[in-house]
């Protein structure tokens, strides 16, 4: 039952698994990077789900302050903003490297690249 009621967590763990598998087992570098992003997103979902309390609002005061009980926990959301920044920069770096690799090796198949010798 726990699996169904905690659908956020279940979903994010499944996504994490998908992303992890893509990252580990795909040979194509672009797909690897996509996998990495899926994995990161899964964690973000998991994290933010921890801060969400159903029926509460986002912690932004629109009309009047409703007291602490009226809002969801803002900390995970704030943290995940940082997390997204980190993930984006890693992705950018990885993509830049992929371009370089393609320039030097003419392929983005990691297995093939590893098999190639030379400086």
């Amino acid at each position: 039952m726990g699996i169904v009621t905690n659908y956020f967590e279940t979903c994010s763990i499944i996504l994490f698994g998908v992303g992890f598998a893509t990252l580990m087992f795909h040979r194509n570098l672009i797909k690897k990077i996509i996998g990495m992003n899926i994995m990161d997103t899964a964690v973000f979902l998991f994290f933010i789900a921890k801060g969400y309390i159903s029926g509460k609002e986002a912690p932004i005061i629109t009309n009047s302050y409703k007291g602490i009980e009226g809002y969801v926990n803002p900390v995970p959301t704030a943290l995940m903003l940082t997390g997204i920044v980190v993930a984006v920069s890693t992705t950018a770096f990885a993509l830049a490297l992929t371009i370089k690799l393609h320039e030097k090796y003419g392929t983005i198949d990691l297995d093939e690249i590893i098999r190639m010798k030379g400086d």
């Binding site: 990252l23 580990m24 964690v43 997390g83 980190v86 890693t90 400086d119």
Partner: protein, 487 residues
């Protein structure tokens, strides 16, 4: 006043890092980097003195009295590591002053120093922080920066090694972030001390969750610190990088993740919780395997830097071995090994880089007779190798000694045999270089005495590192006692 020093440390490095692209002059970039490192060293020494005389302290950035402000904690280990990192990195930067032109394209030299400063800033951040998410951010910064200082050489092999390293690291980061999310959902805190308070009360209700968190952290950090089966990226990355980068990566970067693992196992959790799970047995097993297989792999290597890199895997095995013992003595020795090995391995890498630069070949077989051509370099290399092998007084011996005593303390005598086997294996791969360097009729034929030796000012950083190594060995008891106060 001294409470602000950690923050100033990180800020000085970050600010200088981002001043360099504004200036865009190679010479100024280098001098700025050396200057900032020197400042860090001085401030770190101040921190150390204060911790010795007054005791550990917290620094809270942001909201001082709430539970979500970012907390930095400086205890005995942190202050020692901070001095160590500043010292080693200063010497490496000084070494790079004269050598970096040989390895990094001219127009990228100022970028190199940005990355070096950022890397050190993030490493110090990881050491100081007492906040899990903060340490995650710093870990990511350090990963990107260390990828940067490998790929900057812009050769095929470097890019290949970097992408390998980056992918493995991202896997690790993903696992770490997942673990942090898990622990947050369990406790509602990110501050290590607060998590500890909560978890010490409730862990019996969540044995599986605790185990999952520990496994995620161990694997995640294990990837980054080259724990045995997850070390695949290290030899490529460390051997293809420019020499100062290799020294920095092998000497400091991989150590800091091991230290984070120590913080998580023994500060977030505790000796009693961790000892109840199987995770320590796994760590000790992987550590032992790393010690043995890392050395065996090192024996089979044909390139000098790859050999030294594999030796790093073996030496990280010692650190994990100490962590896995699960006693204060074992963990203190692991930290001591981090200190001793950081100094030794960075010096060894700088030495081998110098020899490779002069000989013009990476192959061990081409280094025959090097002792005649560059006597001082090989003598220093020999000294470092002695520490690895475990000649008394040098830190390698001390770590082995106290690790063995820690093993006997918990009645696991068989583990001592692993330590000694690994030290014999060290003899097998370090000595041929030294023997072929100094001796052998065929090896020395046609070599001219001191023909390839470099000026003494390029050797000075290595000499300082080796002196520091001997001192670390000599004052090992003091260092160990000081480290042990943390547990």
């Amino acid at each position: 006043m001294y409470k602000y020093f950690p923050l100033i440390n990180v800020f000085v490095l970050m600010i200088t890092a981002f001043t360099i692209p504004i200036v865009r002059k190679k010479k100024i970039a280098r001098e700025l980097s050396i200057f900032s490192n020197a400042v860090i060293l001085i401030l770190s020494i101040f921190i150390l003195v204060n911790v010795i005389s007054i005791g550990d302290f917290h620094y809270k950035a942001g909201y001082p009295n709430t539970f979500f402000g970012i907390d930095w904690y400086i205890g005995s280990i942190e202050s020692v590591l901070s001095v160590l990192f500043a010292f080693v990195s200063l010497l490496i930067v000084i070494y790079s002053y004269k050598s970096i032109e040989h390895e990094v394209p001219n127009e990228k030299i100022d970028f190199y120093y940005i990355l070096l400063n950022l890397l050190l800033a993030s490493l110090l951040g990881i050491i100081y922080t007492n906040d899990l998410f903060n340490s995650y951010v710093f870990i990511e910064v350090s990963t990107l920066a260390s990828c940067g200082i490998i790929v900057i050489k812009d050769k095929k092999a470097n890019i290949k090694a970097t992408i390998k390293y980056l992918i493995m690291s991202t896997v690790g980061s993903g696992l770490i972030l997942m673990a942090i999310a898990y622990i947050y959902s369990l406790t509602g805190h990110l501050n290590m001390s607060l998590i500890h308070e909560v978890i010490i009360k409730n862990y019996t209700q969540y044995p599986n969750s605790v185990l999952i968190i520990l496994v995620l952290f161990t694997v995640g950090l294990g990837v980054k610190s080259a724990m045995f089966p997850l070390h695949g990226w290290l030899p490529d990355a460390h051997s293809s990088a420019p020499t100062p980068s290799s020294a920095l990566l092998s000497g400091l970067v991989i150590k800091v993740y091991a230290f984070t693992l120590i913080k998580i196992l023994y500060r977030v959790f505790s000796f009693s919780i961790v000892n109840e799970t199987i995770i320590l047995n796994v760590i000790i097993l992987l550590g032992s395997c790393g010690m043995i297989f890392g050395s065996i792999m090192a024996i089979t290597q044909k390139e000098l830097k790859r050999m030294v890199a594999y030796s790093s895997i073996a030496q990280m095995g010692y650190v994990f071995f100490g962590i896995g013992l699960g006693t204060p003595a074992g963990v203190a020795t692991a930290v001591f090994h981090i200190v001793g090995h950081a100094v030794t391995k960075s010096a060894l890498f700088l030495c081998s880089g110098l020899m490779i630069e002069k000989v013009g070949s990476k192959k061990i077989s081409d280094l025959k007779g090097i002792g005649k051509e560059m006597p001082l370099a090989l003598v220093l290399f020999t000294l470092g190798a002695f520490s690895m092998i475990g000649i008394p007084i040098l830190p390698g011996f001390i770590s082995k000694w106290y690790l063995s005593l820690a093993c006997i303390e918990i009645n696991r005598l068989s583990l001592v045999i692993i330590i000694l086997t690994s030290s014999i294996l060290n003899v097998i791969y370090y000595f041929p270089i030294i023997i072929n360097g100094f001796f052998g009729h065929e090896n020395l034929e046609g070599k001219v005495y001191k023909s390839k030796s470099v000026s003494i000012d390029r050797m000075l950083p290595i000499i300082f590192l080796m002196t520091a190594m001997v001192l670390v060995g000599g004052f090992s008891k003091n260092i160990l006692n000081f480290i042990s106060t943390a547990f």
